[in-house]
Symmetry: C2
Subunit: 364 residues, 2 copies
Amino acid sequence: MRTTVPRKQLADALGHVERIIPSRSSNPSLSLLQIDLNGRSMTLSGSNLDIDIEAKIPADVDSTSSLTYALPAHVFGQVVRALPGELVELTFGDNELEIVSGTYGTKLQLASTSSVTLLEFPLSYAGSLDAQKLSSALSHVRYAAAVAEYQAIFRGVKLELDDKKTRAIATDGFRLAYYNLPEASGLDANIVIPSRSVEEIIKLLGDGEVKLSVDNGQLSFANGPFRVNVKLMEGTFPDYNRVIPSTFPINVSVNSKQLAEAVSRVALMADKSANNRVDMFVKDGNLQITAEGSYGRSQEALEVQQEGKESEMALAYNAKYLTDALVAAEGDMQLRFSGTTSPSVFSSLKDPNYLAMVVPLRTG
Amino acid sequence: MRTTVPRKQLADALGHVERIIPSRSSNPSLSLLQIDLNGRSMTLSGSNLDIDIEAKIPADVDSTSSLTYALPAHVFGQVVRALPGELVELTFGDNELEIVSGTYGTKLQLASTSSVTLLEFPLSYAGSLDAQKLSSALSHVRYAAAVAEYQAIFRGVKLELDDKKTRAIATDGFRLAYYNLPEASGLDANIVIPSRSVEEIIKLLGDGEVKLSVDNGQLSFANGPFRVNVKLMEGTFPDYNRVIPSTFPINVSVNSKQLAEAVSRVALMADKSANNRVDMFVKDGNLQITAEGSYGRSQEALEVQQEGKESEMALAYNAKYLTDALVAAEGDMQLRFSGTTSPSVFSSLKDPNYLAMVVPLRTG
């Protein structure tokens, strides 16, 4: 069985599949790449048990029958990336795959396909969305998911799919971000995706439509050359709506990049072991940022557009929580302060779909 | 005491000094940056005991007296890199340094200067060279120094300074590289520089002339804004001249980049635990490269210009030793083979100053 494929196309598809397949595993068959040749296409697939992935690329196959091969994914990936020619000729024998490109040739040992898990992807998808918009929604909120937390559910990103909207939400209990896409997917489901899988979904989503399906504890999608299954998290995501305040005695508008940079500079003096604390003081259209730690103290003041029934407010935050929430959006942002000890809400004036909430540090 | 300096100039100089100063040390005073204000310049200095460095930058100082301050180098570096303005105003008080730039201000605690080691740099330099040429000589050979070896001297780069030449040499016992600059420095000395210090020297050397001095077990140099002392290694560097063969029954000419890429590709199949072995076979103007390991085998053939009294030769090498020696030079290279088990000598046809020697692996 012989096929010829453009090197770049093979390398690009393989790059994504290889990222999912573990390079080492206590179960060696998990580090194998499965290659299916069928008619005029070649399909690369693999899994890390949390994510199954398949990439299909067009290929000239000299046979119409269907055959399956397996080989170590990362060795194959290294070889493909190093190939000197524009085209790659792959000849599958009983025990070896011969790869020829330009002046270079290699013969790779094939593995037995008997130990490879058969991956199953849905035959039909009930829902769909614009792939770039879904990617953008997930990209805006993933920073707020917990890295390590006593409740595993905080390490996930919730996706609310109903007949009016598609909303992505992440929270670690101290801050929250959501992105409200005013578009229905055709699905009706509340699911929680592990944040590590969210990173991969963002990398895989390209242009055009992404087909979606939720079934049997997994989210499946198809976009461009990829079909993917993602295992979902179990458990109850916190009821975040009730913690978002609705009255704000003070709110200010400021450029998000400018504020994020000022906070980062001032935070250089903040005490890392004391929540990386920076203080903010709003008064008379002036936002004063200060920090103090063992090396010294620093401050910076920005002019802001101030509104609200109270004339001043003092707040303290973890500097990283502020900058994470600010850099996720571009342009001007509205910062609404509900009080010194109750959550602050940030929204983008340019992109009304994005909202972030940060709980101030308790002071004194 | 107050001074104003351009931020970029301060950040660039500080970047180099900060790289030398350890961020943590069992001796906390070693992680301090010393700042001397004197007339119309500001001098930044520090040491890691192997290297002393000083960078002088022009500065508007509002006093003609000379004063010395000390503060944590890496905290100061972080602040300077983050400053928003083009200019930096530094005001030194008794206990604090106030830094103002644009809308941002910070006050850094100063450290006591009593614990700071006084660095001494030579008042005069007996030798000099073109800085870029010295940097090039060191850059061409450093790869051949040992990373870890039973004899410490192999972790150094030798510099032979006499009235005819300046030669840099490195060897780890299995390969060797030298770069023979046909220029006298005015010094007469054989010194061995630790390879980690060689990396720093290469980064510090800029344009123009570098003044040189060897005294008291250290190499001192001055180039651009920098004055630097480098502690030299003790011990006897191996007598490398006697191991370089002089008769070669076969030699070939080939493009070094092309050969290096082919060797890297073929070596993907080489067994990392068996010296990363690749085999070469020269015959009839053809250079065949092969490798074999547990994943499979690969080969590539290049056309070469072949000369010599023998018609063919088989050789085996550590692939990394081959590619290191090849990528250090550009353009066409001559590979001279003294025999299957005796050293091979590579020289650049474009740059006659460069020579590399690689000892083949014992086969069978």
